[in-house]
């Protein structure tokens, strides 16, 4: 993966006529070849940002480049495939005919239509009218259309929206496959598990502001070990002597210890040796969900 940015925004801002500040000074950088997760709750500004990147919406201020060109520039669009929100196709045409319309417009050889139908496993149902498609089939056709140009940059806005669990799993696998190799995928989602499984780096947007941009690993923080033991005060003293007081924190009646999970055996031996009862000892990692709620200020389960 190269460190050259394929998408870059500087102070990108969009204020709609109604006065709503949808995107507020976003500085985002997506590197060539990575799968970038664009996370945020509904209404955070994800779709507005992506619409600005493909030239559907003009920014109020700030700048952006996508695939080396200003948003909406035909040269840039020739290298970008996108599925923004719901897939938009003609309901009276078949899936295949719809792709041919897009292929004509993008000056792509019609042979490519069959290739992308194979990739999204829609070949056998491509003769049916788009209006009769299920949500999953519509999403697949949307991804197929985005792939027609064999783009350097693929922008997918919540591609698993409206899919059942099986459809979501299939779409995740499809995106993972598409993201292999040189192609860059910019994936927006509010489904954290999806992003955690697929993405190399993430950007978190909340209330129009990009509040964090890093690798998934950085975002989740250092690895550690969770210890539940009795008496807990003695356990804490002992572990503080072993790893330093700064490495330990107490949460919900358990100790969170910043150390490698491989040290669990030694921790257990020391605690048991000191007559402390150990009821739980396991590797501890913050979930993306916890990090997300912390960053966006949203309450879990709300």
């Amino acid at each position: 993966m190269e460190n050259i940015a394929i998408v870059e925004t500087h102070s990108l801002t969009k204020r709609f006529g109604s006065g709503v500040l949808a995107v507020d000074s976003v500085d985002m950088s997506v590197r060539r070849g990575e799968v970038y997760g664009f996370l945020g709750p509904n209404g955070a500004g994800k779709t507005t940002t992506l619409r600005m990147l493909v030239g559907l919406i003009r920014p109020t201020s700030g700048t952006a480049t996508a695939a080396g060109h200003a948003p909406g520039d035909p040269k840039g669009l020739a290298r970008i495939g996108s599925l923004i929100e719901s897939p938009g196709f003609y309901p009276y045409l078949s899936g295949r005919e719809n792709l041919k319309v897009v292929a004509d417009l993008a000056s792509v050889n019609l042979k490519r239509v069959e290739e992308v139908l194979d990739i999204v496993e829609l070949s056998t149902r491509a003769g049916r009218k788009f209006g009769t498609y299920s949500t999953g089939m519509k999403q697949r056709l949307g991804v197929a259309a985005a792939l027609l140009k064999d783009p350097d940059l693929l922008i997918l806005d919540e591609p698993t929206n409206g899919l059942d669990p099986q459809g979501m799993a299939e779409m995740r696998k499809l995106i993972k496959d598409i993201g292999q190799g040189e192609r860059t995928v910019l994936l927006s989602s509010h489904l954290l598990g999806e992003v955690e499984q697929i993405c190399d780096r993430v950007g978190v947007i909340s209330n129009g502001k990009l509040v964090k941009q890093s690798t998934v690993q950085e975002l989740l923080g250092e690895e550690g070990v969770l210890v539940r033991a009795q008496p807990i005060d003695r356990a804490q003293d002992l572990l503080a002597r072993m790893y330093g007081a700064a490495a330990i924190s107490r949460q919900d009646g358990a100790l969170h210890l910043k150390t490698k999970p491989e040290n669990s055996v030694e921790i257990n031996r020391q605690l048991v040796g000191a007559g402390i009862g150990v009821s739980e000892l396991r590797p501890f990692e913050r979930s993306l969900e916890e990090v997300f709620f912390q960053l966006t200020g949203e309450k879990q389960g709300s």
């Binding site: 559907l56 919406i57 938009g88 003609y90 319309v101 004509d104 417009l105 259309a145």
Partner: protein, 276 residues
């Protein structure tokens, strides 16, 4: 541009609205011919004797160009507005506008391709009108034992051009409204209301003010000119008819100005507005 035309043609060639539109135009032409034929053969009984409302001579092939002008307008014009509103407005309802705008061509190229293909469809509707009109006139001639003589080629070409222009101008009203309102239903509703009611009422009111002092204003209205253009196609077979309010040349210029103006305004809206 070629790519856009190919895409616009591919998407519209199977569009039910255009096929239904062609069918309606054909059906109305046949209906008008059938009704006029019946009226020509069944004169009105009056105290002064039988009086034919329609002359049979107007239904023969040599007069079919003049005859289809009446059949085409205003139903054909209304049809063109509906098709224009659907063609431009549905793109927003289906979300296809964002699909079209995120491919290779720029917005203006997409719009130019769309208007070009719409123009082809209006030409197809014009050919349907003239084809069905010609066939109907041949049927009448055969049944009546009248010689089958076609109109002069120049009259045919002028007639096709005039009807295409009338369809295209009305279609561009629908297209522009579709882009402005960003949905088809309201666009075609407003377009039809304007052409079938608002303009007619406005013309009457304005022409009443100070004994027609502002008649010049109404002479610039779309369908005043469209009506005048279609009325300019006549012959002695049709008897005495009301003189057109403006000349055919004036009508062509005004209609062409509307067509160009509406297309440019819609292009400007498409280019400047966000696709949300």
């Amino acid at each position: 541009m070629i790519a856009t035309i190919k895409a616009e043609w591919r998407k519209s060639r199977l569009r039910p609205a255009f096929l239904i539109g062609a069918g309606v135009i054909a059906g109305i032409t046949i209906l008008v011919y059938a009704a006029n034929w019946y009226l020509a053969l069944h004169p009105l009984a009056t105290r002064g004797g039988d009086r034919a409302i329609v002359s049979l001579a107007t239904l023969y092939p040599d007069q079919f160009v003049n005859n289809v002008m009446g059949a085409a307008f205003p139903i054909g014009a209304a049809m063109a507005i509906v098709l224009g509103a659907l063609f431009a407005g549905s793109e927003y309802g289906w979300g296809t506008v964002k699909t079209m705008f995120t491919q290779r061509p720029g917005r203006l190229t997409v719009w130019a391709g769309r208007v070009f293909v719409f123009g082809i469809w209006m030409l197809i509707l014009t050919f349907v009108l003239f084809g069905v009109g010609a066939a109907s006139s041949v049927v009448v001639a055969l049944f009546q034992g009248h010689a089958i003589t076609g109109p002069a080629a120049i009259d045919l070409a002028k007639g096709i051009g005039a009807i295409w222009l009338v369809f295209m101008v009305n279609g561009s009203i629908g297209l522009a409204l579709g882009v402005l309102i960003r949905q088809p239903a309201a666009a075609l509703g407003i377009g039809l209301t304007y052409v079938l009611a608002v303009e007619i009422i406005a013309v009457r009111i304005i022409n009443l003010i100070n004994n027609g002092q502002f008649k010049d204003v109404t002479e610039q209205f779309v369908n005043q000119n469209a009506t005048a253009l279609t009325q300019s196609f006549t012959s002695p077979a049709f008897g005495t008819i009301t003189a057109p309010v403006v000349s055919a040349d004036h009508a062509v210029l005004v209609l062409a100005a509307y067509l160009i103006g509406l297309t440019i305004v819609a292009a400007g809206l498409l280019r400047l507005r966000d696709v949300t």
